[in-house]
């Protein structure tokens, strides 16, 4: 105890004691600032309110550190000398009226005793947090089971849609009674048992999207930092309040994202309510804490409109924040006449400049965002982005390849080249799904290629029978590390544009009537842009509308019911199929194609069985008297066009 008594009179302990005392008003001021800001931004999107809360929460330890530095700076020069708090010393004049108040010196003496108490508190909160963290980690392995593979696949799909590169695992847990996300580098979503069977697919998807939103937004890390601040400044209620605001707004941010993706607040609000009701049926579970108000969240979600924001409000509040913080910080050194270094006001406001990839120069950026985008780990990425000089980056890259073994780099670039060469189309080969898989896992052990589409004999587990299919490929890998044995990845090209997309739904490759429309009916007359737009459509209703619009645009007499263009087009197809069919359907032959696009020729010249020439008096874009020659070079009755007007120049 005497050691402690001696220690608390050291300058460091005194400085900490003063800092703890000063932070009481600093924390209160910061919380008041947040309160004012939130009032100003009452209708603002959750993202902004969340940013404000985080900013204030970050300002708290910064204010604490600055105060501590200032207090340390004004410590007495010599430790041996008795400490006198000159500016606040007891007046020499005796006070005539006996005062019940303690003298300042006595207060100060007691203040110093707070320091060990504070240390103990911090140690308690950090130990508790650490133990909690360990408990959470155990939840990944204990009392969990993997759901049906379709759910994991659906989750992967949703994760890809949200551009989340880290793989997310989906598990059912017997410990949690609410869906949760844990972990950062290898996030896991835990669902309560029965959640998957008890809710509709759309509702489960809402939940998964919410948790994925957390993962995409790096909330897990922010939450950990938040816990650190809470532990450090645990004695101030304002800290807990600000932290709670941040948590609430964080949930709101994720709610917004879900509604944005699902496009329907009602489904999502109902999902939350159903979840809560299911939970109410179960007895109290193992994990419980406080926070959040579901009713508020649902009200917020179902609110009709969130008014458009005026741009003046953020600027105003930023200015307000600056002024208040600057005032608070300048007031501090002013009270300390003996301060050796005046702390420049506004230090707390300069946010740590994030070294983003945008700041790194282009070749390195390309390296990070293209060359190794699929194989670099999150830690490596973060480390790379922190580098500041090109020499460091060069060294990092060299080390990166070195770690992966001698032949790795060569093979990796070979894969990229291969992907670009073979899978490229409207976008670069490495960016396509096939490119990504090829680059990450290498060449598959087997490819089942159906890239010409057409009819496909479905295996019994997919429903059996003979179906018409989109162009698709199945890649089989005998083994993928960390994934498993005999992995089959399916890619489907819905638009016929060569852009094969990865899918986990075996029914996606089965063609609908719309595919016939796209790749047979209008294959020669649909524009590239239209084709791409059609490929993006997701519902049959959208496709119906698209087709209707497609014909309407081409209708020469829009005010009549008849669409002469459409009628003529289908007449030509029928004619082609009737007259030009050989081994292949007439519409697919060269003659069929020309007939469908340009209509009947004005004159036909036959040259025996070997060739036939079609003469058009005028074709738009090609001029007058266009002669197209078809040759029957193989003598098999199939006439091939020798001078194709539609072939694009290379």
């Amino acid at each position: 105890m005497s050691h402690l008594a001696a220690w608390i009179h050291t300058p460091l302990a005194q400085a900490i004691g003063w800092t703890l005392a000063h932070f009481i008003w600093e924390g209160a001021v910061l919380a008041a600032v947040l309160m004012a800001l939130l009032r100003l931004h009452r209708e603002a999107p959750a993202r902004r309110r969340y940013a404000l809360a985080c900013l204030i929460l970050a300002a708290m330890p910064v204010a604490f550190a600055i105060t501590l530095a200032a207090m340390w700076a004004r410590r007495p020069a010599s430790v041996a000398m008795p400490i006198h708090w000159a500016p606040l010393a007891v007046p020499q004049v005796p006070i005539s009226v006996p005062s019940p108040r303690l003298s300042w010196a006595a207060v100060l003496d007691r203040l110093a005793w707070l320091v060990p108490v504070w240390f103990a508190g911090v140690a308690f909160f950090y130990a508790r947090g650490l133990a909690g963290w360990a408990a959470v980690r155990r939840l990944r392995r204990r009392g969990v089971c993997a759901p049906a593979p379709e759910w994991q696949a659906r989750l992967d799909e949703l994760a890809a849609r949200m551009r989340l590169l880290r793989p997310v695992a989906l598990l059912e847990s017997c410990f949690t009674d609410t869906p949760v996300l844990i972990g950062y580098l290898r996030p896991v979503i835990l669902l309560p048992l029965g959640c998957l069977t008890g809710l509709s697919a759309a509702q489960v998807e809402c939940i998964l999207l919410h948790e994925l939103a957390h993962a995409v937004r790096h909330d897990y890390v922010v939450n950990l930092l938040q816990a650190l601040v809470e532990g450090l400044l645990f004695y101030h209620p304002a800290v807990w309040w600000v932290s709670r605001v941040a948590r609430t707004e964080r949930e709101n941010c994720c709610d917004d994202r879900v509604v944005e993706l699902v496009g329907n607040a009602r489904v999502y609000a109902a999902t939350l309510a159903v979840l809560e009701q299911r939970r109410a049926l179960a007895p109290q579970a193992a994990l419980a804490a406080t926070g959040g108000n579901l009713m508020k969240r649902i009200r917020r979600l179902t609110k009709e409109s969130r008014g458009a924001q005026t741009s003046a409000a953020p600027a105003f509040s930023a200015a307000l924040l600056l002024v208040i913080l600057a005032a608070a910080l300048t007031a501090l050194p002013a009270k300390l006449p003996r301060a050796r270094h005046a702390i420049p006001a506004g230090v707390a406001l300069a946010p740590p400049k994030p070294q983003t990839a945008a700041e790194t120069t282009t070749p390195y950026r390309k390296w990070l965002k293209e060359d190794v985008v699929y194989i670099i780990s999150d830690q490596e990425r973060a480390a790379f982005q922190k580098l500041t000089t090109d020499a460091e980056r060069e060294e990092f890259i060299a080390e990166f390849w070195l770690q992966r073994g001698s032949a790795f780099k060569e093979e990796h670039y070979r894969r990229i080249a291969y992907a670009n060469q073979h899978f490229g189309g409207s976008k670069a080969g490495w960016k396509t799904d096939r490119g990504r898989i090829y680059i990450t896992y290498g060449p598959p052990d087997e490819i089942d290629d159906h890239s010409s589409g057409g009819s496909y004999r479905r295996p019994p587990e997919e429903g059996g029978g003979e179906v018409s299919a989109f162009p698709f490929q199945q890649w089989r890998y005998r083994y993928i590390e960390g994934v498993g044995n005999n992995i089959i990845i399916e890619f489907v090209d819905h638009g016929g544009t060569g852009d094969f997309r990865m899918t986990s739904d075996p029914s996606e490759k089965v063609a609908t009537p719309y595919r016939k429309w796209l790749n047979e009916d209008v294959v020669y007359i649909i524009g590239d842009a239209e084709r791409i737009a059609f490929g993006e459509l997701t519902t049959d209703q959208e496709r119906e509308n698209f087709i209707e619009e497609f014909w309407k645009r081409r209708n020469p007499t829009p005010d009549t019911v008849e669409n002469e263009f459409k009628e003529e087009h289908y007449r030509r197809i029928a004619y082609a199929n009737e007259h030009f069919s050989t081994g292949i359907p007439g519409w697919k032959t060269d003659m069929g194609r020309i007939y469908i696009v340009y209509g009947p020729p004005d004159a036909v010249a036959t040259m025996g069985a070997a060739a036939e020439a079609w003469i058009y008096r005028y074709i738009q874009g090609m001029g007058q008297n266009v002669t197209l020659v078809f040759e029957n070079s193989q003598g098999d009755g199939e006439f091939h066009l020798t001078n194709d007007p539609m072939r694009k120049p290379n």
Binding site: A135, G143, V144, G194, Y220, Q277, A286, M295
Partner: protein
């Protein structure tokens, strides 16, 4: 001990995993349980079978032998076992801080009955307001 109190003992981690599968799937054959477990980690069929037999002896699971493939089901509901495991010191002392480290779709605390009633009413009104 289990014979005296006539209550199944606390399951080990391996047993808990099998119980979780049974709670999730409902009554299942060893094959079903094994198939679910291997989705997450490699496991031998015989190990699963053996564990299930031990669990049946302990009274953790019930075995229905009417069919050729024996059907196993959890002897107690999930909630019961959860309460039993909640005695876990770590879970009890640090549950609160653990909960704040997880990111959930719902707040970690449960809604009160009045809050639930309010929720239901609100949703009904909302549905009505927007046919």
């Amino acid at each position: 001990m289990s014979a005296k109190t006539n209550q199944p003992p606390r399951p080990t981690d391996a047993e808990l995993e099998i119980l979780t599968v049974l709670w999730s799937l409902g009554p299942s054959t060893v094959r079903d349980v094994h198939a679910t477990i291997v989705r997450r980690k490699p496991a031998q069929y015989t190990t699963v079978l053996k564990t299930l037999q031990i669990m049946a002896d302990k009274g953790l699971v019930k075995r229905n032998e009417k069919q050729r493939a024996h059907i196993y089901s959890a002897a107690r509901p999930r909630e019961w076992t959860q309460q039993q495991l909640a005695g876990d010191l770590l879970q009890r002392a640090f549950g609160g801080s653990a909960a704040s480290l997880m990111l959930g779709a719902l707040a970690a605390h449960r809604a009160s009955p009045t809050e639930l009633a309010e929720l239901r009413k609100f949703l009904e009104e909302y549905e009505k307001g927007k046919p």
